[in-house]
Symmetry: C2
Subunit: 205 residues, 2 copies
């Protein structure tokens, strides 16, 4: 039988996630009421809260998917980065930015970020922060890789500069999701300009 209860549970979970993602993308996060999501998923409001602690937790699944995908794409670049520092950073960062709106809308990103900041003692926030940390480490890993290949001054503190580069790209990403008119290409160019001078100093010779 494989457990009727377990099957129903998995099924409802999926229906809720599908309904939520669909509504978030079409009518928007704020406009999608729990009641609507529950109705599309053919479940009661109360049942929704047996599956998720808060409305925001529905975002978490999508954010996680998006960031995991981005991290995986980033791995490929860290493994075989362009030789030039500026180009390597641009490749990694561009990969982050270009993948950022596959599943999430800007409104969803804004909500997720706001939740992560506003309620730090929350599973949501802890998970979001953890994903952020993995991205930060990936940037540091890229610098270390370049250093290992002799494309970056040996005396560079890759952790310090990696953190700074990551925090900068992350803050610029916040500006990006705050501005509906800004495209990923715009963002990439702005950050490229900021990284340029630093990359120049980091290069060998």
């Amino acid at each position: 039988m494989a457990g009727l209860r377990a099957r129903q549970k998995a099924d409802r979970n999926r229906r809720l996630l599908d309904a939520a993602l669909h509504l978030f993308q079409t009518v928007g996060y704020d406009a999608a009421r729990i009641e609507d999501i529950a109705e599309v998923a053919e479940v009661s409001v109360g049942t929704f809260y047996n599956y998720f602690q808060t409305k925001g937790d529905l975002l978490l699944a999508t954010v996680t998917m998006e960031v995991e995908a981005v991290l995986e794409a980033g791995e490929a670049i860290v493994a075989a980065p362009p030789a030039d520092v500026a180009q390597a950073l641009d490749a990694l960062i561009g990969c982050y930015y270009d993948h950022s709106l596959v599943w999430l809308t800007k409104e969803m990103w804004r909500t997720a970020m706001a939740l992560a900041i506003q309620a730090p003692d929350t599973p949501f926030s802890r998970r979001y922060t953890e994903l952020d940390g993995r991205l930060r480490q990936q940037v540091c890993a890229l610098l270390l890789r370049l250093q290992g290949k002799g494309q970056l001054r040996a005396d560079t503190d890759c952790t310090a500069l990696g953190e700074m580069i990551f925090n900068n790209l992350n803050m610029m990403f916040i500006e990006f999701v705050k501005d509906d008119a800004m495209t990923p290409a715009d963002l990439r160019q702005l950050v490229g300009r900021q990284n340029g001078p630093l990359a120049a100093m980091l290069r060998m010779g």
Copy 2:
């Protein structure tokens, strides 16, 4: 007569702000209900909304005060910075961090940041973003000043690096307000470590 109406208006406005700040600081932003604030200010809930558009707008007044104070203190440092790049940055950043909890609690900061991100098309967000921009410019101004005094390589792109340094200190400030256990001194030290390697590269000779 000087206008009874105008006097009453100013008076109620002040009472509302005082009541809100007091409650935010004592019971917390979330726990302070509009009804409570209105009651302390001896005003009805409806009247509150004649004076402020949202609960969050009560934060804006305090955030503005805090940031304006910080900007002024920062001016003094930009005007007469320590000779060493690292020390100059540490002085300015320390000034920001040390002043940051005079009027606002970490919870209030978190709420303000969350609101600024979540609803960018809001007077609140626009104002918050503008204050951020002025801080960013001040960091850039410090670099330019140091460069003018010959304490920083002439070929440095002060805008690019200033933005990056600011975005880093701002993101670290977000981590700070997310973590109740972190002190301003902790934060200052962490950012000092991040800035150190960069400062070393920026120094003359």
